[in-house]
Protein backbone atom coordinates (compact mmCIF):
# COMPACT_ATOMS: atom_id res chain seq x y z
CA UNK A 1 0.00 0.00 0.00
CA UNK A 2 1.30 3.40 -0.98
CA UNK A 3 1.82 5.79 1.89
CA UNK A 4 0.07 8.47 -0.15
CA UNK A 5 -3.13 6.46 -0.55
CA UNK A 6 -5.14 8.75 1.67
CA UNK A 7 -8.49 7.00 1.27
CA UNK A 8 -7.02 3.73 2.49
CA UNK A 9 -4.91 5.13 5.30
CA UNK A 10 -7.81 7.02 6.85
CA UNK A 11 -10.90 4.90 6.21
CA UNK A 12 -9.80 1.36 6.94
CA UNK A 13 -8.07 1.63 10.33
CA UNK A 14 -10.86 3.90 11.58
CA UNK A 15 -13.59 1.30 11.12
CA UNK A 16 -11.29 -1.37 12.42
CA UNK A 17 -10.59 0.74 15.47
CA UNK A 18 -14.31 1.35 15.99
CA UNK A 19 -14.98 -2.39 16.00
CA UNK A 20 -12.08 -2.94 18.36
CA UNK A 21 -13.53 -0.40 20.80
CA UNK A 22 -17.03 -1.88 20.49
CA UNK A 23 -15.64 -5.31 21.35
CA UNK A 24 -13.82 -4.00 24.40
CA UNK A 25 -16.93 -2.15 25.55
CA UNK A 26 -19.02 -5.33 25.30
CA UNK A 27 -16.32 -7.26 27.13
CA UNK A 28 -16.37 -4.77 30.02
CA UNK A 29 -20.14 -5.09 30.34
CA UNK A 30 -19.99 -8.89 30.12
CA UNK A 31 -17.26 -8.98 32.76
CA UNK A 32 -19.28 -6.80 35.12
CA UNK A 33 -22.46 -8.91 34.78
CA UNK A 34 -20.49 -12.14 34.92
CA UNK A 35 -18.69 -11.06 38.08
CA UNK A 36 -22.02 -10.14 39.68
CA UNK A 37 -23.41 -13.58 38.82
CA UNK A 38 -20.34 -15.51 39.95
CA UNK A 39 -19.96 -13.58 43.20
CA UNK A 40 -23.68 -14.11 43.82
CA UNK A 41 -23.50 -17.86 43.16
CA UNK A 42 -20.45 -18.12 45.45
CA UNK A 43 -22.36 -16.39 48.23
CA UNK A 44 -19.93 -13.48 48.45
CA UNK A 45 -22.68 -11.07 47.34
CA UNK A 46 -25.72 -11.77 49.49
CA UNK A 47 -28.62 -12.47 47.14
CA UNK A 48 -31.02 -11.03 49.72
CA UNK A 49 -29.56 -7.58 49.10
CA UNK A 50 -27.96 -7.75 45.69
CA UNK A 51 -29.97 -10.42 43.81
CA UNK A 52 -28.27 -11.89 40.69
CA UNK A 53 -28.61 -11.46 36.94
CA UNK A 54 -29.86 -15.06 36.65
CA UNK A 55 -32.66 -14.15 39.06
CA UNK A 56 -33.82 -10.76 37.84
CA UNK A 57 -33.57 -11.42 34.10
CA UNK A 58 -36.18 -14.22 34.25
CA UNK A 59 -38.24 -11.98 36.54
CA UNK A 60 -38.35 -9.29 33.88
CA UNK A 61 -39.29 -11.93 31.32
CA UNK A 62 -42.04 -13.07 33.65
CA UNK A 63 -43.46 -9.55 33.88
CA UNK A 64 -43.75 -9.31 30.12
CA UNK A 65 -45.24 -12.81 29.94
CA UNK A 66 -48.01 -11.90 32.39
CA UNK A 67 -49.71 -9.99 29.63
CA UNK A 68 -51.99 -6.99 29.82
CA UNK A 69 -54.40 -6.06 32.56
CA UNK A 70 -54.48 -4.10 35.79
CA UNK A 71 -50.95 -3.59 37.15
CA UNK A 72 -49.24 -5.12 34.12
CA UNK A 73 -45.72 -4.12 33.11
CA UNK A 74 -47.04 -2.65 29.85
CA UNK A 75 -49.31 -0.31 31.77
CA UNK A 76 -46.45 0.68 34.12
CA UNK A 77 -44.15 1.47 31.21
CA UNK A 78 -46.92 3.33 29.40
CA UNK A 79 -47.70 5.49 32.43
CA UNK A 80 -44.07 6.31 33.15
CA UNK A 81 -43.48 7.23 29.51
CA UNK A 82 -46.63 9.36 29.38
CA UNK A 83 -45.50 11.26 32.48
CA UNK A 84 -42.07 11.69 30.95
CA UNK A 85 -43.42 13.02 27.68
CA UNK A 86 -45.87 15.41 29.34
CA UNK A 87 -43.21 16.72 31.74
CA UNK A 88 -40.76 17.10 28.91
CA UNK A 89 -43.13 18.87 26.52
CA UNK A 90 -44.68 21.23 29.08
CA UNK A 91 -41.31 22.00 30.67
CA UNK A 92 -39.74 22.69 27.27
CA UNK A 93 -42.55 24.99 26.12
CA UNK A 94 -42.48 26.95 29.38
CA UNK A 95 -38.67 27.12 29.36
CA UNK A 96 -38.53 28.41 25.79
CA UNK A 97 -41.30 30.97 26.28
CA UNK A 98 -40.01 32.39 29.55
CA UNK A 99 -36.35 32.13 28.51
CA UNK A 100 -37.14 34.11 25.37
CA UNK A 101 -39.18 36.70 27.27
CA UNK A 102 -36.53 37.26 29.93
CA UNK A 103 -33.69 37.48 27.41
CA UNK A 104 -35.56 40.05 25.34
CA UNK A 105 -36.83 42.12 28.27
CA UNK A 106 -33.92 43.17 30.41
CA UNK A 107 -36.01 44.51 33.31
CA UNK A 108 -38.08 41.34 33.52
CA UNK A 109 -34.93 39.22 33.42
CA UNK A 110 -33.30 41.23 36.19
CA UNK A 111 -36.46 41.28 38.34
CA UNK A 112 -36.84 37.51 38.32
CA UNK A 113 -33.15 36.61 38.39
CA UNK A 114 -32.81 36.10 42.21
CA UNK A 115 -36.04 34.13 42.46
CA UNK A 116 -35.08 31.83 39.60
CA UNK A 117 -31.59 31.32 41.00
CA UNK A 118 -33.14 30.39 44.33
CA UNK A 119 -35.45 27.84 42.75
CA UNK A 120 -32.63 26.48 40.69
CA UNK A 121 -30.54 26.01 43.83
CA UNK A 122 -33.17 23.70 45.37
CA UNK A 123 -32.48 20.05 44.55
CA UNK A 124 -35.74 19.64 42.68
CA UNK A 125 -36.32 16.04 43.76
CA UNK A 126 -37.16 17.24 47.28
CA UNK A 127 -40.16 18.96 45.73
CA UNK A 128 -41.66 15.55 44.92
CA UNK A 129 -43.44 15.26 48.31
CA UNK A 130 -44.79 18.80 47.89
CA UNK A 131 -46.25 17.97 44.49
CA UNK A 132 -47.71 14.70 45.74
CA UNK A 133 -49.43 16.57 48.57
CA UNK A 134 -50.67 19.26 46.20
CA UNK A 135 -51.62 17.19 43.15
CA UNK A 136 -52.26 13.75 44.58
CA UNK A 137 -50.73 10.43 43.67
CA UNK A 138 -51.90 10.41 40.06
CA UNK A 139 -50.26 11.65 36.91
CA UNK A 140 -50.22 15.38 37.73
CA UNK A 141 -47.66 15.25 40.54
CA UNK A 142 -45.19 13.27 38.38
CA UNK A 143 -45.62 15.63 35.46
CA UNK A 144 -45.18 18.61 37.79
CA UNK A 145 -41.84 17.31 39.03
CA UNK A 146 -40.71 16.60 35.47
CA UNK A 147 -41.71 20.12 34.45
CA UNK A 148 -39.64 21.76 37.20
CA UNK A 149 -36.62 19.67 36.19
CA UNK A 150 -36.95 20.28 32.45
CA UNK A 151 -37.95 23.92 32.74
CA UNK A 152 -34.69 25.15 34.22
CA UNK A 153 -32.50 23.31 31.72
CA UNK A 154 -34.44 24.65 28.75
CA UNK A 155 -34.92 28.08 30.31
CA UNK A 156 -31.20 28.62 30.84
CA UNK A 157 -30.34 27.19 27.43
CA UNK A 158 -32.81 29.50 25.68
CA UNK A 159 -31.95 32.53 27.80
CA UNK A 160 -28.21 32.21 27.24
CA UNK A 161 -28.57 31.42 23.54
CA UNK A 162 -30.68 34.50 22.89
CA UNK A 163 -28.72 36.86 25.13
CA UNK A 164 -25.38 35.73 23.68
CA UNK A 165 -26.55 35.60 20.08
CA UNK A 166 -23.80 36.84 17.76
CA UNK A 167 -24.49 40.57 17.36
CA UNK A 168 -22.88 40.47 13.91
CA UNK A 169 -25.67 38.18 12.70
CA UNK A 170 -28.30 40.58 14.02
CA UNK A 171 -26.58 43.67 12.56
CA UNK A 172 -26.17 41.94 9.22
CA UNK A 173 -29.82 40.98 8.78
CA UNK A 174 -30.93 44.43 9.93
CA UNK A 175 -28.87 46.09 7.22
CA UNK A 176 -30.24 43.49 4.79
CA UNK A 177 -33.72 44.77 5.58
CA UNK A 178 -34.96 42.56 8.43
CA UNK A 179 -37.79 43.95 10.52
CA UNK A 180 -38.05 43.14 14.22
CA UNK A 181 -40.05 40.00 13.62
CA UNK A 182 -37.60 38.89 10.92
CA UNK A 183 -34.74 39.21 13.41
CA UNK A 184 -36.75 37.04 15.80
CA UNK A 185 -37.69 34.39 13.29
CA UNK A 186 -34.44 34.29 11.31
CA UNK A 187 -31.79 34.80 13.99
CA UNK A 188 -33.00 34.63 17.60
CA UNK A 189 -35.32 31.63 17.43
CA UNK A 190 -32.98 29.48 15.31
CA UNK A 191 -30.13 30.29 17.72
CA UNK A 192 -32.34 29.30 20.65
CA UNK A 193 -33.63 26.24 18.82
CA UNK A 194 -30.14 24.87 18.34
CA UNK A 195 -29.42 25.34 22.05
CA UNK A 196 -32.69 23.57 22.89
CA UNK A 197 -31.88 20.69 20.59
CA UNK A 198 -28.50 20.41 22.30
CA UNK A 199 -30.23 20.28 25.71
CA UNK A 200 -32.91 17.86 24.49
CA UNK A 201 -31.22 14.70 25.71
CA UNK A 202 -30.37 16.09 29.13
CA UNK A 203 -33.86 17.43 29.72
CA UNK A 204 -35.61 14.26 28.52
CA UNK A 205 -33.41 12.25 30.87
CA UNK A 206 -34.43 14.52 33.73
CA UNK A 207 -38.12 14.26 32.85
CA UNK A 208 -37.79 10.48 32.97
CA UNK A 209 -35.91 10.56 36.28
CA UNK A 210 -38.51 12.94 37.72
CA UNK A 211 -41.37 10.65 36.75
CA UNK A 212 -39.73 7.55 38.23
CA UNK A 213 -38.72 9.24 41.50
CA UNK A 214 -42.17 10.76 42.03
CA UNK A 215 -43.74 7.37 41.35
CA UNK A 216 -41.39 5.79 43.86
CA UNK A 217 -42.37 8.31 46.51
CA UNK A 218 -46.12 8.11 46.07
CA UNK A 219 -48.18 6.59 43.30
CA UNK A 220 -50.35 3.65 42.32
CA UNK A 221 -48.75 2.88 38.93
CA UNK A 222 -45.53 3.14 36.95
CA UNK A 223 -42.04 1.71 37.10
CA UNK A 224 -41.10 3.70 40.20
CA UNK A 225 -44.15 2.27 41.96
CA UNK A 226 -43.09 -1.24 40.93
CA UNK A 227 -39.70 -0.77 42.60
CA UNK A 228 -41.28 0.67 45.73
CA UNK A 229 -43.62 -2.31 45.99
CA UNK A 230 -40.79 -4.82 45.55
CA UNK A 231 -38.79 -2.99 48.19
CA UNK A 232 -41.70 -3.19 50.63
CA UNK A 233 -41.63 -6.99 50.26
CA UNK A 234 -37.80 -7.14 50.68
CA UNK A 235 -37.75 -8.44 47.10
CA UNK A 236 -34.36 -7.28 45.83
CA UNK A 237 -34.83 -9.27 42.60
CA UNK A 238 -37.91 -7.17 41.85
CA UNK A 239 -36.03 -3.97 42.69
CA UNK A 240 -33.17 -4.84 40.35
CA UNK A 241 -35.59 -5.97 37.65
CA UNK A 242 -37.21 -2.55 37.78
CA UNK A 243 -33.87 -0.75 37.78
CA UNK A 244 -32.61 -2.69 34.75
CA UNK A 245 -35.84 -2.01 32.89
CA UNK A 246 -35.57 1.71 33.70
CA UNK A 247 -31.97 1.79 32.51
CA UNK A 248 -32.94 0.05 29.26
CA UNK A 249 -35.76 2.52 28.63
CA UNK A 250 -33.50 5.48 29.38
CA UNK A 251 -30.95 4.20 26.87
CA UNK A 252 -33.64 3.72 24.21
CA UNK A 253 -35.00 7.20 24.85
CA UNK A 254 -31.53 8.69 24.59
CA UNK A 255 -30.73 6.83 21.37
CA UNK A 256 -33.95 8.08 19.79
CA UNK A 257 -33.19 11.66 20.78
CA UNK A 258 -29.65 11.35 19.51
CA UNK A 259 -31.11 10.56 16.09
CA UNK A 260 -33.44 13.55 16.35
CA UNK A 261 -30.55 15.78 17.39
CA UNK A 262 -28.52 14.64 14.37
CA UNK A 263 -31.41 15.38 12.02
CA UNK A 264 -31.70 18.94 13.34
CA UNK A 265 -27.96 19.63 13.32
CA UNK A 266 -27.06 19.22 9.69
CA UNK A 267 -25.84 22.81 9.50
CA UNK A 268 -23.45 22.38 12.40
CA UNK A 269 -19.77 21.61 11.95
CA UNK A 270 -18.97 18.07 12.95
CA UNK A 271 -15.77 17.29 14.75
CA UNK A 272 -13.38 15.43 12.51
CA UNK A 273 -11.71 12.22 13.61
Amino acid sequence: MSTLDLTATTAVPLTRRTWFIRTIQLAVIAFFIGAWEVLGQAGILDKFYYSRPSLFVPRIGGWFAEGLGQGSIYRDIGITLLETILGFVIGTLLGVAIGYLFARNELLGKAFDPLLSMFNAIPRLVLAPVFILAFGIDLQSKVALGVTLVFFIVFFATFTAIRDVDQTLVDNVRVLGARRRDVTSQVLLPAAFSAIVASLRTSAGFAFAGAVVAEYIGSNAGLGRRIATAEAFFDSTGVFGGIVLIAALALLLDAGLQLAEGAFSRWKPRREH
Binding site: T168, L169, L176, G177, A178, V187, K268
Partner: protein
Protein backbone atom coordinates in the same frame (compact mmCIF):
# COMPACT_ATOMS: atom_id res chain seq x y z
CA UNK B 1 -23.07 66.74 -7.03
CA UNK B 2 -23.89 65.95 -3.41
CA UNK B 3 -21.54 63.43 -1.80
CA UNK B 4 -22.83 59.87 -1.34
CA UNK B 5 -21.61 59.83 2.25
CA UNK B 6 -21.07 62.84 4.44
CA UNK B 7 -20.04 63.14 8.10
CA UNK B 8 -20.18 66.57 9.77
CA UNK B 9 -18.19 67.13 12.97
CA UNK B 10 -19.09 63.65 14.20
CA UNK B 11 -18.11 62.23 17.58
CA UNK B 12 -19.03 58.94 19.19
CA UNK B 13 -18.87 58.06 22.88
CA UNK B 14 -19.29 54.45 23.94
CA UNK B 15 -20.80 53.75 27.33
CA UNK B 16 -20.13 50.10 28.10
CA UNK B 17 -21.98 48.83 31.19
CA UNK B 18 -19.87 48.92 34.38
CA UNK B 19 -16.91 50.44 32.54
CA UNK B 20 -15.75 53.96 31.93
CA UNK B 21 -17.26 55.65 28.89
CA UNK B 22 -14.74 56.40 26.20
CA UNK B 23 -14.49 58.60 23.17
CA UNK B 24 -13.99 56.51 20.02
CA UNK B 25 -13.88 59.26 17.40
CA UNK B 26 -14.21 63.03 17.44
CA UNK B 27 -14.33 65.96 15.00
CA UNK B 28 -14.68 63.70 11.99
CA UNK B 29 -15.54 65.56 8.80
CA UNK B 30 -15.60 63.43 5.70
CA UNK B 31 -17.26 63.71 2.30
CA UNK B 32 -17.18 60.80 -0.08
CA UNK B 33 -18.28 61.55 -3.65
CA UNK B 34 -20.53 59.02 -5.36
CA UNK B 35 -18.75 56.26 -7.25
CA UNK B 36 -15.45 56.54 -5.38
CA UNK B 37 -13.57 53.79 -3.63
CA UNK B 38 -12.27 55.27 -0.38
CA UNK B 39 -10.28 53.39 2.25
CA UNK B 40 -9.82 54.41 5.85
CA UNK B 41 -6.60 53.22 7.51
CA UNK B 42 -5.62 53.61 11.11
CA UNK B 43 -4.11 51.76 14.05
CA UNK B 44 -6.30 49.30 15.93
CA UNK B 45 -8.66 51.01 18.32
CA UNK B 46 -8.79 54.27 16.37
CA UNK B 47 -12.53 53.97 15.82
CA UNK B 48 -12.43 53.29 12.09
CA UNK B 49 -15.06 50.55 12.34
CA UNK B 50 -17.23 53.01 14.26
CA UNK B 51 -17.43 55.09 11.07
CA UNK B 52 -19.26 52.27 9.29
CA UNK B 53 -21.62 51.79 12.23
CA UNK B 54 -22.52 55.47 12.01
CA UNK B 55 -22.98 55.51 8.23
CA UNK B 56 -25.16 52.37 8.28
CA UNK B 57 -27.23 53.70 11.17
CA UNK B 58 -26.44 50.69 13.35
CA UNK B 59 -24.89 53.20 15.79
CA UNK B 60 -26.24 56.69 16.47
CA UNK B 61 -23.62 59.47 16.60
CA UNK B 62 -23.19 61.19 19.96
CA UNK B 63 -22.48 64.51 18.24
CA UNK B 64 -22.73 65.62 14.64
CA UNK B 65 -24.62 64.62 11.56
CA UNK B 66 -24.30 61.73 9.12
CA UNK B 67 -25.85 61.92 5.68
CA UNK B 68 -26.15 59.03 3.27
CA UNK B 69 -27.39 59.30 -0.31
CA UNK B 70 -28.95 62.67 0.34
CA UNK B 71 -30.85 61.88 3.53
CA UNK B 72 -29.84 62.14 7.16
CA UNK B 73 -29.11 58.83 8.88
CA UNK B 74 -31.51 58.35 11.79
CA UNK B 75 -31.97 54.58 11.89
CA UNK B 76 -30.63 51.41 10.29
CA UNK B 77 -30.17 51.98 6.58
CA UNK B 78 -31.10 49.13 4.32
CA UNK B 79 -29.96 50.90 1.15
CA UNK B 80 -26.31 49.99 1.78
CA UNK B 81 -24.35 46.77 1.53
CA UNK B 82 -22.33 45.99 4.65
CA UNK B 83 -19.56 43.40 4.65
CA UNK B 84 -18.62 42.60 8.23
CA UNK B 85 -15.20 41.56 9.44
CA UNK B 86 -16.63 38.56 11.24
CA UNK B 87 -18.73 35.82 9.69
CA UNK B 88 -22.22 37.21 9.26
CA UNK B 89 -23.91 34.44 7.28
CA UNK B 90 -26.67 32.61 9.14
CA UNK B 91 -24.99 29.29 9.96
CA UNK B 92 -28.32 27.39 9.79
CA UNK B 93 -29.00 28.54 6.23
CA UNK B 94 -27.38 27.34 3.02
CA UNK B 95 -25.56 29.72 0.68
CA UNK B 96 -28.68 29.93 -1.49
CA UNK B 97 -30.96 30.68 1.46
CA UNK B 98 -28.54 33.26 2.84
CA UNK B 99 -28.35 35.12 -0.47
CA UNK B 100 -32.13 34.96 -0.93
CA UNK B 101 -32.65 36.38 2.57
CA UNK B 102 -32.45 40.11 1.70
CA UNK B 103 -34.88 39.58 -1.16
CA UNK B 104 -37.29 37.79 1.16
CA UNK B 105 -37.10 40.65 3.65
CA UNK B 106 -38.36 42.91 0.88
CA UNK B 107 -41.13 40.48 0.04
CA UNK B 108 -39.52 39.50 -3.25
CA UNK B 109 -38.99 36.01 -4.50
CA UNK B 110 -36.30 36.03 -7.12
CA UNK B 111 -34.36 32.77 -6.95
CA UNK B 112 -32.86 33.44 -10.39
CA UNK B 113 -31.24 36.69 -9.24
CA UNK B 114 -29.87 35.10 -6.06
CA UNK B 115 -28.44 32.27 -8.09
CA UNK B 116 -26.93 34.65 -10.62
CA UNK B 117 -24.99 36.40 -7.86
CA UNK B 118 -23.87 33.15 -6.29
CA UNK B 119 -22.48 32.08 -9.65
CA UNK B 120 -20.90 35.49 -10.18
CA UNK B 121 -18.89 35.26 -6.95
CA UNK B 122 -17.81 31.76 -7.97
CA UNK B 123 -19.90 29.74 -5.53
CA UNK B 124 -22.11 27.98 -8.08
CA UNK B 125 -20.99 24.48 -7.06
CA UNK B 126 -21.55 25.30 -3.37
CA UNK B 127 -25.00 26.83 -3.62
CA UNK B 128 -26.60 24.26 -1.31
CA UNK B 129 -23.76 24.04 1.20
CA UNK B 130 -23.89 25.37 4.73
CA UNK B 131 -21.40 28.10 5.75
CA UNK B 132 -19.35 25.77 7.95
CA UNK B 133 -18.69 23.62 4.89
CA UNK B 134 -16.99 26.56 3.11
CA UNK B 135 -13.52 28.05 3.52
CA UNK B 136 -13.08 31.54 4.96
CA UNK B 137 -12.62 33.03 1.49
CA UNK B 138 -15.74 31.30 0.20
CA UNK B 139 -17.77 32.60 3.12
CA UNK B 140 -16.64 36.12 2.22
CA UNK B 141 -17.73 35.52 -1.36
CA UNK B 142 -21.14 34.41 -0.11
CA UNK B 143 -21.36 37.56 2.01
CA UNK B 144 -20.53 39.66 -1.04
CA UNK B 145 -23.31 37.96 -3.00
CA UNK B 146 -25.71 38.44 -0.08
CA UNK B 147 -24.96 42.17 0.08
CA UNK B 148 -24.84 42.82 -3.65
CA UNK B 149 -27.98 40.92 -4.60
CA UNK B 150 -30.09 44.01 -3.79
CA UNK B 151 -27.74 46.17 -5.86
CA UNK B 152 -27.00 48.82 -3.20
CA UNK B 153 -25.25 51.94 -4.51
CA UNK B 154 -23.07 52.18 -1.38
CA UNK B 155 -20.89 49.38 -0.06
CA UNK B 156 -19.45 49.50 3.47
CA UNK B 157 -16.65 47.05 4.16
CA UNK B 158 -15.16 46.51 7.60
CA UNK B 159 -11.75 44.83 7.28
CA UNK B 160 -13.48 42.17 5.21
CA UNK B 161 -10.39 40.21 4.24
CA UNK B 162 -8.30 40.55 7.40
CA UNK B 163 -8.98 36.99 8.56
CA UNK B 164 -7.86 35.46 5.24
CA UNK B 165 -4.41 34.20 4.33
CA UNK B 166 -2.36 36.46 2.06
CA UNK B 167 -2.95 34.58 -1.20
CA UNK B 168 -6.70 34.30 -0.66
CA UNK B 169 -6.79 37.93 0.35
CA UNK B 170 -5.14 39.05 -2.90
CA UNK B 171 -7.56 36.92 -4.88
CA UNK B 172 -10.52 38.44 -3.06
CA UNK B 173 -9.19 41.96 -3.51
CA UNK B 174 -8.92 41.47 -7.26
CA UNK B 175 -12.36 39.89 -7.28
CA UNK B 176 -13.76 42.88 -5.42
CA UNK B 177 -12.22 45.30 -7.93
CA UNK B 178 -13.73 43.29 -10.79
CA UNK B 179 -17.19 43.29 -9.21
CA UNK B 180 -16.94 46.98 -8.40
CA UNK B 181 -15.37 47.87 -11.77
CA UNK B 182 -17.96 49.69 -13.83
CA UNK B 183 -20.74 49.42 -11.24
CA UNK B 184 -20.51 53.06 -10.16
CA UNK B 185 -20.91 52.03 -6.53
CA UNK B 186 -19.44 54.08 -3.71
CA UNK B 187 -17.21 52.00 -1.45
CA UNK B 188 -16.09 52.90 2.07
CA UNK B 189 -13.45 50.34 2.96
CA UNK B 190 -11.93 49.99 6.43
CA UNK B 191 -8.54 48.34 6.87
CA UNK B 192 -5.43 48.47 9.01
CA UNK B 193 -3.36 47.39 6.02
CA UNK B 194 -1.94 50.40 4.16
CA UNK B 195 -0.91 48.29 1.15
CA UNK B 196 -4.40 46.95 0.73
CA UNK B 197 -5.83 50.46 1.05
CA UNK B 198 -3.60 51.93 -1.64
CA UNK B 199 -3.97 48.97 -4.00
CA UNK B 200 -7.76 49.14 -3.96
CA UNK B 201 -8.69 52.78 -3.56
CA UNK B 202 -9.16 56.11 -5.29
CA UNK B 203 -8.37 57.81 -2.04
CA UNK B 204 -7.04 56.83 1.38
CA UNK B 205 -7.89 58.47 4.67
CA UNK B 206 -5.41 58.10 7.54
CA UNK B 207 -6.85 58.26 11.04
CA UNK B 208 -5.09 59.12 14.30
CA UNK B 209 -4.86 56.80 17.29
CA UNK B 210 -8.03 56.84 19.39
CA UNK B 211 -9.95 59.01 19.91
CA UNK B 212 -9.78 58.84 16.15
CA UNK B 213 -9.87 61.85 13.94
CA UNK B 214 -8.80 62.36 10.36
CA UNK B 215 -5.08 63.02 10.08
CA UNK B 216 -4.51 63.09 6.32
CA UNK B 217 -6.11 62.23 2.99
CA UNK B 218 -4.21 61.05 -0.06
CA UNK B 219 -5.66 60.66 -3.54
CA UNK B 220 -4.38 57.50 -5.25
CA UNK B 221 -3.53 58.32 -8.84
CA UNK B 222 -2.81 54.79 -10.00
CA UNK B 223 -4.40 53.68 -13.28
CA UNK B 224 -7.27 51.18 -13.39
CA UNK B 225 -7.92 48.35 -13.98
CA UNK B 226 -5.41 47.26 -11.38
CA UNK B 227 -3.96 43.98 -10.31
CA UNK B 228 -3.44 44.28 -6.56
CA UNK B 229 -0.61 41.77 -6.56
CA UNK B 230 1.43 43.58 -9.17
CA UNK B 231 0.59 47.20 -8.48
CA UNK B 232 2.59 47.09 -5.26
CA UNK B 233 5.78 47.32 -7.30
CA UNK B 234 4.79 50.44 -9.24
CA UNK B 235 7.02 53.42 -8.29
CA UNK B 236 3.98 55.67 -7.66
CA UNK B 237 2.64 53.04 -5.28
CA UNK B 238 5.89 52.91 -3.34
CA UNK B 239 6.15 56.70 -3.17
CA UNK B 240 2.61 57.06 -1.85
CA UNK B 241 3.14 54.22 0.59
CA UNK B 242 6.16 55.97 2.05
CA UNK B 243 4.34 59.27 2.51
CA UNK B 244 1.26 57.72 4.07
CA UNK B 245 3.28 55.38 6.23
CA UNK B 246 5.16 58.35 7.71
CA UNK B 247 1.76 59.56 8.94
CA UNK B 248 0.49 56.21 10.04
CA UNK B 249 3.67 55.07 11.81
CA UNK B 250 3.40 57.64 14.59
CA UNK B 251 -0.23 56.74 15.20
CA UNK B 252 0.47 53.04 15.32
CA UNK B 253 3.30 53.64 17.81
CA UNK B 254 1.05 55.85 19.94
CA UNK B 255 -1.78 53.31 19.87
CA UNK B 256 0.60 50.49 20.81
CA UNK B 257 2.11 52.46 23.66
CA UNK B 258 -1.35 53.25 24.99
CA UNK B 259 -2.41 49.61 24.84
CA UNK B 260 0.65 48.66 26.90
CA UNK B 261 -0.15 51.32 29.48
CA UNK B 262 -3.73 50.15 29.70
CA UNK B 263 -2.32 46.70 30.44
Amino acid sequence: MAPAISLRDVAKVYRPPRKRPYLAIEHVDLDIPAGRFVSVVGPSGCGKSTLLGLVSGLLPPTVGEVTLLGSRVTGVRTDVGFIFQRDALLPWRTVRENVELPLRFRGERDPARAKEWIVRVGLGPFIDNYPHELSGGMRKRAQLAQSLVRDPSVLLMDEPFSALDVQTRNLMENELLNLWGASGKTVLFITHDLEEAIALSDEIVVMTAGPGTIKARYPVALPRPRNVTEIRFAPEFVALYERAWADLRDEVARSYKRSLEAG
